[in-house]
């Protein structure tokens, strides 16, 4: 089906009509209520920039301390906080939010739509990020910051060896930020799969969208292991449930596995969006098209899968059997192949076109120079015997900064310079940016190249002084001097942005002659992006502004976009998006209060805050309740239904994405269970006191859940379904009362955690059933299908957990 665009209208009235619907009120009110993707994306990036500055200052403190063997000024306890916070801030509060912000800002524009799929979720994510980050910052200022290194190995981070609140700050603060990341991943996935311009097939997407699809898939699968690990460790710290305590059936290695199950994919989560920016910018800088689109897509898919099979290369020194070493070494080496495919595709692109040396290109060349070296040292570290020597030395510090600064910071700087006109409508003031670039590039290599040698000379990471090793003094001094040069460069870079915003000339449309969709909008980009959704590839900025496309304007006074089928981009229905609301900030604040209460050990009060979160969640769904089914003309002669009554709603896609993340969480839990029962020394556990009663109750819960799942398939099902859910909940709470003391042994703690998991899921199922119940019959099908997904997932997971417990009982 080809769509015929609407006839042109007058651009200005159209603009006014759209602004009325899509913009936000001015001032603080607007700031608190805005859900617009451009604004939230920019806020993400701005805040990430601030955190980069803070992390950078901490880095300079580290470098100053290390300049001389005696260490200048920091005592060890403070030094430990500083490098831990440097690493944690850079990874969790700079890199991840920066890429979320960039993609939130760009994706709807590149895909030809007007906002993200779940605008309120974008805003919620940003507020979570703000509050979670603030918790970490306040702790740093108060001298109570985490101090166990950014990977927080147990048992150093357990209650015995870190009695203070430091580790809790990390666990809760980071989990808070991770929630925001999962939220972002859900909506990035749904936006890419369902909100493209009508007719844009998956295989025609801009490469950046492919990269972000890979990234968000990895976030959905990769963050839950760390969330699980953090929850378990926090449970151990708060309630003494011994998941990691080797004396009671736990194992500190479990933490390492969970952490790196997240930690390795994290590296690619950070790299892929940067690579997406490169694949977008480089061809424009070379006045050509990207070479090897299919090969690159294949490489992305390969990376997404491979990167989940590598995590053990961070653990080569923990004493792993030789066979496993060989396997993970091979996997870690071969993951370089898809990366090489991309690097060579980019090089080929440069050969194909005529590269020009403008500022974004300089940053891209710096990316090549740096990332290639970082990749090579990465391959070296995948070689097990060499890893035994280099692991945990300055060599690794050097490697990781080559990869992170080379593979993320340089491309992000290229992206900033390249896309700034879109954000500000201005062009850069020449000069400062080039100087900044030179200082950063030279400063970076001066700092980190020699650090490889320092590491091979035996300098471990994370030490504040080295009085017995004068041979490390010179290389460290060199690193420190150049690092000051680099920081001056970063300050100049920030200055350049400021000058740009203040004094830049007005930019013409599409200043780089990129001719891609995101440049076909007015500069700076209006709140609604485009007055009409593009229906073909031969469109211009002017034709879009005149409404020549699908769904022009906002004639119904609401925010409308087109939802398409995920593979071939066929227009399916009109999705009405929610507008400005306080709900995101209030919900995030509730979660924040919950986290703070947990930090201060007020666990009962924390439960009430959780209730607040639930109430917010309930309010959340009320949007769209008063929509009445209607058919809407999207292009002349072509009408589509709106989302009411459509089963394949965006929310349903979002629920599927969320369940994928949840399944990863559940899988990690099963991994933990298996790992502890097979590897941990303290097994078999003491006799369990679970009797027939618990078994019966478990059976009742399962039965009730099966009934609820069945009811979810029936239009009158919600009310009885909710009642069945409540019955299941009561039964599970009964099981909880019969459990053995969770502090006795890791097995009992795991069972308690599993019970909690089940109860939470059953409870949410009841809520979803009630939501489906409140909807008018004409619109209930959509919410019922969402409830059904959840109910089925709950049934499956609870059944698996029950079977496992029964198996444990039978086998023991």
């Amino acid at each position: 089906m080809t769509l015929i665009p609407h006839p042109p209208q007058r651009a200005l009235p159209l603009h006014r009509e759209m602004e009325r619907v899509w913009s936000r009120p001015p001032g603080l009110k607007g700031f608190l209520t805005s859900v617009n993707h451009s604004e939230i994306g920019l806020r993400f990036m701005a805040l990430a920039g601030i955190y980069f500055g803070i992390g950078g200052i901490l880095a300079m403190l580290i470098r100053t301390q290390l300049a001389t063997p005696q260490g200048a000024f920091l005592d060890t306890a403070l030094y430990n906080q500083i490098f831990t916070m440097h690493g944690s801030i850079m990874m969790f509060l700079f890199a991840i939010p920066m890429l979320e912000g960039l993609s939130m800002y760009l994706l709807p524009k590149m895909l030809g739509t007007r906002d993200m799929a779940f605008p309120r979720l974008s805003a919620f994510g940003w507020w979570c990020y703000l509050f979670g980050g603030l918790i970490l910052l306040v702790a740093l200022a108060a001298g109570m910051a985490p101090d166990g290194g950014w990977f927080m190995y147990t048992p150093l981070s357990s209650r015995t060896y870190t009695p203070g609140v430091n580790a809790d700050v990390w666990l809760l603060g980071v989990t808070f930020v991770e929630i925001s990341a999962i939220a972002a991943a859900v909506e990035i996935t749904v936006t890419i799969l369902r909100l493209r311009a009508p007719g844009m097939r998956l295989t025609q997407m801009p490469l950046f969208a492919w990269y972000m699809l890979g990234t968000s898939a990895m976030m959905l699968a990769g963050f839950p292991p760390l969330i699980l690990g953090s929850v378990l460790l926090e449970l151990e710290r708060a309630f003494d449930w011994p998941f990691f305590d080797v004396a009671r059936g736990g194992d500190s290695l479990l933490w390492q596995h969970l952490f790196w199950l997240f930690g390795h994919p994290e590296v690619y989560i950070i790299f892929l969006p940067a690579a997406g920016a490169i694949s977008t910018i480089l061809p424009v800088m070379c006045r050509t098209r990207i070479l090897g689109y299919e090969a690159i897509v294949a490489a992305i898919v390969g990376l997404v899968f491979l990167s989940f099979g590598l995590w053990v290369h961070h653990m080569f020194t923990v004493g792993i059997p030789q066979m496993a070493l060989a396997f993970f070494s091979a996997a870690s080496t071969l993951v370089a192949v898809p990366t090489a495919v991309q690097i060579f595709a980019w090089t080929g692109t440069m050969w194909k076109g005529t590269p020009r040396l403008s500022l974004p290109m300089l940053h891209l060349l710096a990316f090549f120079a740096t990332f290639v070296l970082g990749g090579l040292t990465g391959v070296m570290l995948a070689v097990v015997p060499f890893n035994w020597q280099a692991h945990d030395t300055a060599f690794v510090t050097a490697h990781l900064h080559y990869v992170l600064i080379g593979g993320f910071v340089f491309p992000m700087m290229a992206a900033a310079v390249y896309w700034l006109p879109l954000m500000s409508g201005r062009v850069r003031v020449r000069g400062v940016g080039e100087v900044a670039f030179a200082l950063i590039f030279i400063g970076f290599h001066g700092t980190f190249l020699i650090m490889h040698l320092t590491g091979l000379l035996g300098m471990p990471r994370r030490i504040p002084v080295y009085p017995d090793n004068p041979e490390w003094a010179l290389p460290n001094l060199i690193s420190t001097l150049f690092s000051f040069m680099m920081s001056i460069g970063f300050v100049l870079f920030a200055l350049d942005l400021l000058l740009h915003a203040l004094f830049g000339r007005r930019s013409t449309r599409d200043p780089w002659q990129a001719n891609t969709l995101e440049w076909k909008m007015a500069l700076p980009v209006p709140s609604y992006n485009i007055a009409a959704l593009p229906v073909s590839t031969d469109i211009t900025a002017v034709s879009l502004a005149r409404g020549e496309g699908a769904l022009p304007g906002a004639p119904r006074g609401r925010r409308e976009v087109l939802a398409v089928s995920s593979l071939d981009g066929k227009a399916q229905h009109v999705a009405v998006l929610p507008g400005n609301t306080l709900l995101p900030v209030v919900t995030a604040a509730m979660v924040g209060v919950f986290v703070l209460l947990m930090l201060f050990g007020a666990y009962i009060l924390a439960c009430t805050a959780m209730l607040g979160v639930l109430v917010c969640g309930w309010t959340w769904h009320r949007f769209g309740r008063d929509l009445r089914p209607a058919r809407i003309e999207i292009t002349p002669g072509q009408t589509l239904p709106d989302q009411t009554g459509v089963e394949g709603s965006l929310t349903r896609s979002g629920m599927i994405a969320l369940i994928i993340a949840d399944a990863s969480l559940f899988g990690s839990f099963l991994f933990a269970l298996g790992f502890l029962s097979v590897i941990a020394p303290g097994w078999p556990p003491p006799d369990s006191g679970l009797g027939l009663g618990a078994l019966l109750l478990g059976g009742v819960a399962l039965g009730a859940l099966a009934v609820a799942s069945g009811l979810a398939r029936w239009s009158r099902g919600p009310l009885p379904g909710a009642l069945a859910g409540v019955l299941a909940l009561v039964a599970v709470l009964g099981v909880a009362l019969l459990l053995d003391d969770p502090t006795r042994h890791a097995r009992d703690a795991l069972r308690a955690a599993a019970t909690g998991y089940a109860a939470l899921h059953i409870g949410i199922g009841v809520l979803l059933a009630l939501i489906a119940r409140t909807r008018a019959p004409a619109t209930a099908a959509a919410s019922r299908s969402i409830w059904r997904l959840w109910q089925d997932f709950t049934l499956i997971t609870v059944a698996i957990l029950t079977l496992l417990v029964v198996a444990q009982e039978v086998l023991s």
Binding site: T76, P155, S252, G319, V337, V341, M380, A382, L456
Partner: protein, 223 residues
Amino acid sequence: MLAGCDGALSTLAPRGPEAEAIATLWWIMLAGSMAISLMMFALLGLAFRKNRRPLSDRFWTHGMGLGFSFTILSVLLAAAIITGDRLIARHQSASVRVEAIASQWQWRFVQPGPDGAPVETQGRLYIPAGVPVEVFIRSEDVIHSFWVPTLAGKLDAIPGHENRLRFEASEPGVYQGRSAEFSGVGYADMLFEVLAYPPDDVPAQFTNRGESAPAAQAGEPDE
């Protein structure tokens, strides 16, 4: 060049076969990496030449991206696995066995003395030179890592687990060791040393238990 590589903790100044094998591996990998980087930089530089011969898309994605990288990596992987195999399996039956016990922030070593009774030393490990030794590494609290860079790679001390490291000091001498896994405020000073003595000349500090050595103390084990 090699003078710059010296240092008590330098992995580039190996004093035993294990560390030597790894150092050799490093130099080979360094040479290979430099060749590859130079090639990459040349390719990038050549992209700026005015009249260059266009190359097919497949040359870049399949030829270089898949073929070239795959070949190099396979060779490297084979070399790595063979070296690793040799390092792990080398001395199946080491005659000297030592227990290394880490705790915040010190190392204790227990091994049979000349008369067969266990001897415990603190901060200094005595081993005969020229003979493979086997160290059983344990921890009493948090995670630590046993590392004598001039002799061998590191291996972690993990609570509840025991790891075995085999290595050999070619010549008699004193070798610096340290913990290599962050363990809290005392981490930086968690040093020890390995004293390799000529096999026929067992040092007095080690035989005369109870007398303390300059940097180390020998004492009865607790039980």
